[in-house]
Amino acid sequence: MLKLAVYGKGGIGKSTMTSNLSAAFALLGKKVIQIGCDPKADSTMTLLSGTPVTSVMDYLRGHDALPEDLSIITKRGFGHVLCIETGGPTPGIGCAGRGIITTFQLLNDLSLFDEEKPDVVLYDVLGDVVCGGFAAPIREGYAEHILIVTSGEKMALYAARNIVSAVSQFEDRSYASIAGILFNARNVPNEREKIKAFSTETGLPVLAEIPRSDVINTCEDRGMTVLEGAPDSAVATLFTDLAARLLTLPPKERLRKGPAEHRFQEGFLQ
């Protein structure tokens, strides 16, 4: 199973990259789950042509009890991708990070992975890892590889750098490691050079360069990924290409050897 988490600065294109990748994996014949880990609950919109899934937090807000089965908090999107949104509290109150942890626990309790047996799981996460909850998707047992989305803009690179240093602090925890950079172009001056410098500085490969593309915007307006709305476009090919290469990522080397059950107890997040 390929398990990816997508991080990056706010508004940089994480959900766009994630959804297009999900669609690309699906068209490659893979069984895909996409989990949006953002209180805005807008990660899977372009997979669901405008009819969103009930977010887990919205469900919990309205009901006193946990949902009995997965169907209430999941929805099939384009390419049969199973879409889930954690959602979150009303901005300004509550604890969004805790919401992510609760959602993950719930998904465990409902045996999401055993039931669905996906080939690929994608977590679309907030750019700013502000508390433990936002690192939950990269804990052992969840994502194994991190993709960092960035443009050549100063603040996007700043956020990317923060993510790299946060992840390096988790090294001894056996968390996910960074597979590389998704360069989502904003057409700022010397953009490619800046990304190259960042890549050299961090030792992270640039896995793909996605150009600023009107196709992405027009498809988004129609509630679609480019793989659905413009399958023959050049940018769709870029996502298909990237997806195919990601499928060859080797499983992450874990710190401690031996049977996984010694290290990770299923359903530990509570």
Partner: protein, 386 residues
């Protein structure tokens, strides 16, 4: 009101269950919790504290630890203590606070194991479940980590799984059950985990046994794991009164056919006018109900996780709140329960006190009987006020 209690205490929590289950196994148990709570886990809920040393600690979680996520402080403290005390393993469990904070305890355990070389594992607790859940997960973790495949030989042997003072007090019940097993033709291989100088070596050798006798719900998860790993069948029940015979047969059948049997509650849930009502831990209550003399068995209520019982999802079994508890005892001809339940029983209801340390703590600890040794008829006659 759901879960409301004005007169009844709550059962010992899952964190106490972890500390109790692992107390004699030579490890170190750390409850990630605020300072001051250790007396709950290791004195109020732990009678062995006074004469049997063990390494039970709390982490002393502070507000700043919470804000800054200072896991490193906890890690360093545990590493330091472990280097000094050299425990055979380290287990870490959590109070409600780290649970709400979402602290990654398995990751902390990984770091500690890497730094100390001592087997370290996280045990999932939240301070909200009962001791059964904690003890159950603790033993499951221990078995998962340390039980090894061993050859069986000689006459049929059995493990006794599920002994803690939280269920049985300090009564020597292990010896009594052991003697009964010997009498029934089984040698005792090992016990989890009280009173028999149990150490990690007996955990390692658990798989030598032909069958597991599960005497409390605390041991269900470990029994299931031993079955899955080593094909050892289990039988659930406590050898009391007339039920001992049934249990002995079940043990022999289990060895012969390699078949496990949880304890059925069929016939134990119907309320009978003037009948006997037993309230307590599931394995204990069901065993006693089946053991009592007389034609119609008692009915039982289990105000805890009904581990080890078959068809336990029946809603008549549980007691979520005091109102339901009161109702459960309203038409009883005799109630057998911890003496604290008397507080919500109707005045004049015949009541047979059976102290349960996980419920009433040390209050009646001296009066915990060893029912496995007793002639139940005589015991009831003696214990009931005329």
């Amino acid at each position: 009101m759901r879960n409301a209690a004005a007169f009844l205490p709550s059962y010992a929590s899952d964190t106490s269950g972890v500390a109790s289950a692992l107390y004699e196994l030579g490890g170190m148990t750390v409850v990630h919790d605020a300072s001051g709570c250790n007396s709950t886990y290791s004195t109020f809920d732990e009678p062995r504290w006074y004469d049997h040393p063990s390494f039970v600690f709390i982490s002393g979680l502070t507000e700043m630890d919470a804000i800054f996520g200072q896991d490193e402080r906890v890690i360093e403290d545990i590493v330091l203590a472990a280097k000094r005390l050299k425990p055979l393993f380290i287990s870490i469990c959590t109070s409600p606070m780290p649970v709400l904070l979402g602290s990654d305890i398995p990751a902390i355990a990984t770091i500690i194991e890497t730094r100390t070389g001592i087997p370290t594992f996280a045990i999932r607790t939240n301070g909200m479940n009962s001791y059964l859940a904690g003890a159950s997960r603790a033993w499951e973790a221990i078995v998962r980590r340390f039980a090894e495949k061993e050859e069986k030989h000689g006459k049929p042997s059995a493990n006794i799984l599920g002994l803690t003072p939280l269920d049985f007090g300090m009564t020597g019940v292990g010896h009594s059950i052991g003697a009964w097993l010997e009498h029934e033709g089984f040698s005792v291989n090992a016990t989890l985990a009280m009173g028999n100088n149990d150490s990690l070596s007996s955990v390692r050798a658990l798989s030598k046994a032909h069958v597991n006798l599960v005497v409390s719900g605390c041991a269900m998860a470990s029994a299931e794991l031993l079955q899955e790993r080593f094909g050892i069948p289990y039988v659930v029940g406590l050898p009391v009164g007339a039920f001992s015979e049934t249990l002995s047969k079940a043990l022999k059948r289990a060895v012969r056919h390699c078949e496990s049997s949880p304890l059925s509650v069929d016939g134990l849930l119907e309320e009978k006018e003037d009948g006997t009502v037993i309230i307590g831990e599931g394995v204990f209550a069901a065993s006693l109900a089946k053991a009592l003399p007389g034609t119609s068995p008692a009915s039982i209520h289990v105000p805890l996780e009904p581990l080890g019982l078959l068809n336990a999802s029946d809603e008549r079994l549980g007691l979520e709140d005091e109102t339901k508890t009161e109702k459960a005892m309203a038409h009883a001809g005799l109630v057998i329960a911890d003496p604290l339940y008397k507080r919500v029983a109707k005045r004049g209801t015949p009541f047979l006190s059976l102290p349960h340390p996980a419920f009433s703590g040390r209050m009646y600890a001296r009066h915990v009987p060893v029912l496995t040794d007793k002639d139940l008829n005589a015991w009831i006659r003696e214990a009931l006020p005329c």
